[in-house]
């Protein structure tokens, strides 16, 4: 039934192509509500200068202002402005917080002795850098041809466990593929199993 209906209609208009802002992901005309207006404008100027001219030119601004004046009471406008400011402040605060967290968080690569000469490598802290643990684990598995999985730690977080001692390789790989992680934030740890526990077995 559906088949007969999908015959192309005579007046089929092509789909509208919509530009989305690279900063706030909204269509550029809604950027002013996103809280990062200044950066949105810069982005637009760089990637779609024509649109930027349309939205941010002086005439456009003036037109918007008069429209605003006519349709909104002064009071409402003031409130809107205050709201926008608050939103912008919030957005920038969130961002600086994020950056700070990023700078302070560490990635730990830990070599754990499993059985005399056998080791597993545990990588934790990657999630602070916005990486998808599951995907990275798969990557590691493919790259090193070993088992690699996301495991839960007792403290509630998640980490990647790779079979075999590949800590140095992981260090190099991270430096190569994920340059957003500063090298000094990656920590290599060698963890020897406690002698007592080994002896007890």
């Amino acid at each position: 039934m559906a088949d007969t209906e999908t015959a192309p209609a005579a007046d089929a208009r092509p789909a509208k192509s919509v530009v989305y802002c690279g900063q706030c992901s909204l269509p550029p005309e809604y950027c002013e509500y996103g809280g990062t207006t200044q950066r949105c404008a810069d982005w637009l100027l760089k990637h779609h200068p024509d649109l930027h001219a349309k939205l941010y030119s002086e005439e456009a601004q003036a037109a918007a202002l008069t429209q605003n004046l006519s349709s909104l009471s002064v009071d409402a406008q003031k409130r809107a402005e205050k709201d926008a400011q608050k939103k912008a402040a919030k957005a920038s605060a969130a961002e600086s917080r994020e950056a700070e967290k990023r700078a302070s968080s560490k990635v730990t690569i830990k070599r754990v002795e499993r059985n005399k000469r056998k080791y597993v490598t545990e990588v934790s802290g990657l999630e602070h850098f916005g990486l998808d643990l599951k995907k990275i684990a798969k990557e590691f598995g493919k790259k090193f041809a070993t088992g690699s999985s996301v495991t839960k730690t007792p403290s509630g977080g998640e980490e990647i466990t790779v079979q075999g001692d590949v800590s140095d390789d992981i260090f190099d790989w991270l430096g190569e593929h994920h340059e957003e992680i500063p090298e000094e934030n990656i920590e290599l740890v060698e963890d020897k199993k406690k002698k007592g526990a080994a002896a007890a077995v």
Partner: protein, 191 residues
Amino acid sequence: MFKKDVSPGAKSKVKSSAQRAIRAKVLETYPLLAPYIDDILPKKEQLDLVKVPDRVSVYSLNGQPLLWQHMDDKIIPHLKIVQQYPWCFQRVRIDRGGVRFVLSGATLMVPGLTSAGGRLPGDEDAGPEYGNDGKELEAGEVVAVHAEGKEHACMIGILKMGTKEMKEKKKGVAIENGHYAGDGLWKLDLS
């Protein structure tokens, strides 16, 4: 509905029979989409069903959310689809002052639609785009919400009140729990 960022739950493949049913349902709800349905929901592609909190299911294609549905309500397209094919949906328009509330996730209230900047079907100044051939919209219909002075739709949702009633009362809730630009569903990345 998606004011908070949603965390996608289990993803599963949709059976091809179910896929056909979805397609038929979408066409039933939005007959004007018929010429484009093959672009939106290609027959051969594998749809995915992703469950998100609050009993919403999201249908996605190649990691792009396409449609969403709350329990057994009407299937509602993702806003990006609406913005691509705006003429396929019944629409209303809100005035300028309401835009910032809509985009921060507030419930859409009737005064935003009945004021000078708003447009409802049946208004004298509605024009062909908002006129809907003079027919009033009933409660429960899916409408795309456009904004005064903007090109693209900013929200889509189910009407809580018929447009006729709106014009009489001029207050109350128009759309609750819609999907708006910049909300959790908008930002949802499934890939």
